[in-house]
């Protein structure tokens, strides 16, 4: 319904008085239809249910003691953002399908083909264009959020930013991680090559990992830190984290690596700096700082 700005010509005749309904008026009229209000309510209820479910999801993620690093916190924040941005889309989709299924617009049972057809709606440019714009805007937002967050967690992994997002003054610790069927080995080159099968790290210190494998592909997953990188034979991959929580957390292998893949797990102990220093000394290393 575009407004014709041209002056009236002889053929067109004089312009009608402008009693054209405004879009708002049309929308209010649409709202008067019985199904419109019900669909809106259904959408709201389903979206709310989904948002509640995201809290449950993050609760599940934290059951073993996380988040234990800034990376994991960012991942959980991203979970919420993704879920909430998608909530209206999910709500609308399920609301329409559910309303149609439960017979909101009526339904036909039995073996006989219905004798009456539905309305012959073949297209609706407001719906298609609006939908395309909405979904594209949503996808664009998700992409931008994802790119920014990815840059963030990479900065955290590289230890250039600490958990409190300030430039990191702590000296980082490098750990060489080696996967082999079916154990993890951790070597501390800075600490006179201390070698261990349980990762021990001090809190609030950036840890930097060089990860490789002696045989097949493994995947080094520090669960509560939200860190994962494949351990490949013939290559070194990198990741890192700064632990923000004291305690014992899980390291698992996340890539099928043969018979005892299920048992290829160990732990990471996050301790205070003092405890870490004495642990290094006990294991015959030196703290070079």
């Amino acid at each position: 319904m575009t407004i014709d700005q041209r002056p009236p010509t002889a053929e067109e005749g004089p312009e009608e008085p402008t009693n054209r309904p405004t879009p708002m008026h049309l929308f209010r009229n649409w709202l008067k239809r019985r199904y419109a209000k019900r669909l809106i309510w259904l959408t709201l209820i389903i979206s709310a249910g989904w948002i509640a479910a995201t809290f449950l999801a993050v609760y599940f993620m934290n059951m073993s003691g996380g988040p234990a690093s800034a990376i994991m916190s960012e991942i959980e924040l991203t979970m919420y953002v993704l879920a909430w941005v998608c909530a209206p889309l999910m709500g609308v989709t399920l609301a329409i399908a559910l309303y149609s299924m439960i017979g909101g617009w009526g339904r036909v049972k039995g073996d006989k083909q219905p004798d009456q057809d539905g309305p012959g709606i073949r297209n609706n440019s407001i719906a298609t264009i609006g939908w395309a714009v909405w979904v594209s805007a949503l996808a664009a937002f998700l992409v931008v959020w994802g790119l920014v967050e990815l840059a963030n967690i990479q900065a955290f992994a590289n230890g250039s930013v600490a958990a409190n997002q300030q430039p990191n003054s702590q000296q980082s610790i490098t750990v060489n991680v080696t996967g082999q069927q079916w154990v993890w080995t951790f070597a501390y080159p800075d600490q006179n090559k201390v070698t261990t099968d349980v990762l021990v790290v001090p809190i609030n210190t950036p840890i930097y990992f060089n990860v490789t494998s002696k045989d097949v592909v493994h995947s080094f997953w520090v669960v509560e830190m939200g860190v994962k990188i494949d351990a490949n034979p013939g290559a070194i991959t990198n990741t890192g984290f700064t632990a923000t929580k004291l305690g014992t957390f899980n390291i698992r292998c996340a890539e099928l690596c043969g018979l005892h893949h299920a048992y290829m797990e160990t732990q990471v102990k996050v301790v205070t700096q003092d405890e870490y220093n004495s642990w290094v000394r006990e294991n015959g290393g030196v703290r070079l700082s």
Partner: protein, 657 residues
């Protein structure tokens, strides 16, 4: 679909030399069937094994310390099996006749199409697309049954958290075999039976473009299955369906079965895809322009196109793996300049598009059938076509999202996150088409229509969890966990398999002449659906808690969700058995269905049931798309009247019909 009949006059040239009949119609093919194929396959396999055994020594080891001799022997055995089987079924008779200059006579062609052979035609190299469709249906149901049985074993092991039921080698083998069997089954389950049986009729053709290639594609598929299934007897396929290198190189010789299966199945897929695409492009009825083609045909076309382009990548990944094993190349051996990342790239170049190869035909089938049960035109046909081809285009550039955490090229994660999230746009187009078609319609609550609602739910769950996984930071937690397993089961099973069940239920009357029992079919379907939710929703929970995939023992934290998943899996099993029983029972003694049981307007609904040979007595001419349903929309009439009044044109005609 509105059709007009035209009389076709065939101008026969009397002096064209017809090929001469040599012997009885069919020639050598009279003696070829499934039994001769089995016998020849086994004989040639044994011969190849024995002969190569004389020339190889068992002592030499390859770079991965695997003895080369036995690998050569087993490879030769499988190649012998495939070649022998194809000779035995008669696949080489055609080329040999062509070589000898003995073209097919009319009587030969009739014999090849299975005329007058009773049930025997299902066991032979038969070219009629309707027979091939039924053969595909049986084969894919058998594959689904086998894969489902393995799934029950997996869930049993995971549910019995207090003990190890299977040894790790067997457990890892059933995981890999379940995966690849289900992938193959899902690739063929819609495009095979319905693409072959329904699509040629739907576009108004008398048969597929290349009937003999059609027979070749189904029998190559049949030949491809035994090598895969036999891996369980040859040490297993203990590396998951992805068979990542170099783990696969360590595997026993059962791995060769996988490789030969993929290579053979790749040929089958390529041939079937070319055949379907040529049929769709070149053999459409007069007047069936691209804007009048049923949407299901678009879905099959898109799926075939993606399979044709991307399957060779997967085939090459396995050729290289096989040659690493047998002739000591080093494509994937890092110590000799190879790369495990090369394998992963080649694998996922098909691995991701394959998801759309599986899901698109099923979803397109739902679009096709929902208009019939909603008695409304398809909402925004062009939007649907745009969605389908948007998916085809973007599917080419998203594979690296399976490799976010491999460390291969961390900076590639940025562009591939972009492309992966973009693909949600064309997918959402298809969702809008579904919703728009449901909008204000009174659904006729038969099983296929109710399945549409079930699939919408599954697609929403699968889609939203897919958004999580497409995001690199979240994937850093989820990758390789049970969350991923639950997600792709929602897509491949929840959207793929449940759509396939709906589609088969919908076209069952056309294929078998009988209705699929609505009551028992629905009970089976909904029981399976309920079990599915239980199984995979709680599997999401296990993944969120941090359970890695492909493990057989785990932290007790994951016990509860695994118990629920296992109970759900048994419920799926019961539901599927009920559905299967309904299919078998209805096929044998179901209610006889008329030619057009649901009042559809597509061409396949206009031909008699059982479909006569050559489908159409007179080829149809198409004058509109098949979606001319619907009474005029009262609201729209009102709008139109208002517009007309404003423009000073025609007076309002509210309420006119």
């Amino acid at each position: 679909m509105t059709t007009a009949t035209v009389t076709v006059t065939i101008h026969e040239a009397p002096d064209v030399i017809q090929p001469r009949q040599h012997g009885k119609p069919g020639g050598l093919l009279r003696y070829c069937n499934f039994v001769t194929a089995l016998i020849l396959g086994i004989v040639l396999a044994a011969l190849a094994y024995w002969i190569t055994g004389m020339f190889t020594t068992g002592e030499a080891l390859n770079a991965n310390f695997v003895p080369i001799g036995i690998n050569v022997q087993i490879t030769a055995m499988y190649v012998g099996w495939v070649v022998g089987f194809m000779i035995g079924i008669g696949a080489f008779v055609g080329p040999i006749r062509w070589f000898l200059g003995r073209d097919l006579t009319h009587a030969d062609a009739e014999y090849l199409a299975g005329r007058g052979q009773g049930r025997m035609k299902f066991w032979k190299y038969t070219t009629d697309h309707k027979i091939v469709g039924i053969q595909y249906l049986i084969v894919s149901m058998a594959l689904l049954g086998f894969g489902g049985l393995l799934a029950m074993l997996i869930r049993t092991e995971l549910g019995v958290t207090w003990a190890e039921l299977f040894n790790p080698n067997f457990y890892n083998s059933i995981i890999g075999t379940h995966g690849i069997v289900m992938i193959i089954a899902m690739i063929v389950v819609v495009s095979g039976p319905l693409g072959n049986f329904i699509v040629p009729i739907m576009v108004g053709a008398r048969d597929m473009a290349f009937p003999r290639l059609n027979a070749l594609s189904i029998w190559l598929l049949v030949a491809a299955i035994p090598p895969l299934a036999s891996n369980l007897a040859l040490g297993g396929l203990r590396d998951g369906w992805t068979v990542y290198q170099p783990l696969a190189d360590q595997a026993p010789v059962g791995m060769i079965g996988y490789q030969i299966t993929i290579i053979t199945f790749g040929f089958s897929t390529a041939i079937a895809s070319v055949n379907l695409m040529t049929t769709i492009v070149k053999m459409r009825a007069k007047g069936m322009t691209w804007s009048r083609v049923p949407i299901f045909v678009y879905g099959i076309f898109a799926s075939s196109l993606m399979g044709l382009i991307w399957f060779p990548m997967y085939q090459y990944s396995q050729w290289f793996a096989l040659s690493d094993r047998v002739i000591n190349t080093s494509f994937y051996v890092p110590a000799q300049g190879g790369s495990v990342w090369l394998y992963e790239n080649l694998f996922w170049l098909l691995g991701h598009p394959e998801v759309y190869v599986i899901v698109l035909p099923g979803v397109a089938a739902l679009l096709e059938l929902m208009v019939v049960f909603l008695r409304k035109p398809l909402f925004s046909y062009k939007f649907a076509v745009a969605g389908i081809f948007g998916i085809v285009g973007l599917s080419a550039v998203v594979w690296v999202h399976h490799m976010y955490m491999t460390g291969w090229a961390p900076s590639s994660n940025y562009p591939f996150m972009l492309s992966t999230e973009m693909i949600s746009i064309p997918i959402s187009f298809l969702v809008l088409v579904m919703l728009g078609t449901m909008w204000r319609a009174r659904p006729w609550t038969r099983l296929p229509m109710m399945a549409v609602y079930a699939v919408v739910w599954n697609k929403v769950i699968g889609g939203i969890t897919g958004v999580f996984l497409s995001d690199v930071p979240v994937d850093q937690y989820m990758h390789g966990s049970m969350f991923v397993v639950a997600h792709f089961h929602y897509m491949l099973m929840g959207a793929g398999l449940f759509s396939a069940m709906a589609a088969i239920a919908y076209w069952f009357p056309k294929m078998t002449g009988r209705y699929l029992d609505n009551r028992w079919g629905s009970i089976g379907f909904w029981v399976a659906f309920g079990g599915f939710q239980l199984t995979f929703l709680s599997m999401f929970a296990a993944g969120l808690q941090g359970m890695p995939r492909r493990v057989l023992q785990f932290d007790s934290l994951f016990n509860v969700s695994n118990w629920i998943s296992t109970i759900g899996a048994y419920i799926i099993g019961i539901g599927m058995l009920i559905f299967l029983a309904a299919v078998i029972n209805s096929w044998r003694s179901g209610e006889i269905a008329p030619a057009n049981p649901y009042g559809a307007k597509t061409l396949e609904a206009q031909v008699p049931t059982p479909v006569p040979p050559e489908n159409f007595a007179v080829l149809p001419v198409i004058t509109s798309d098949p979606y001319g349903y619907g009474s005029p929309d009262p609201y729209e009439l009102e709008d139109e009247a208002r517009r007309a009044a404003l423009e000073g044109g025609e007076p309002a005609k509210v309420g006119a019909s």
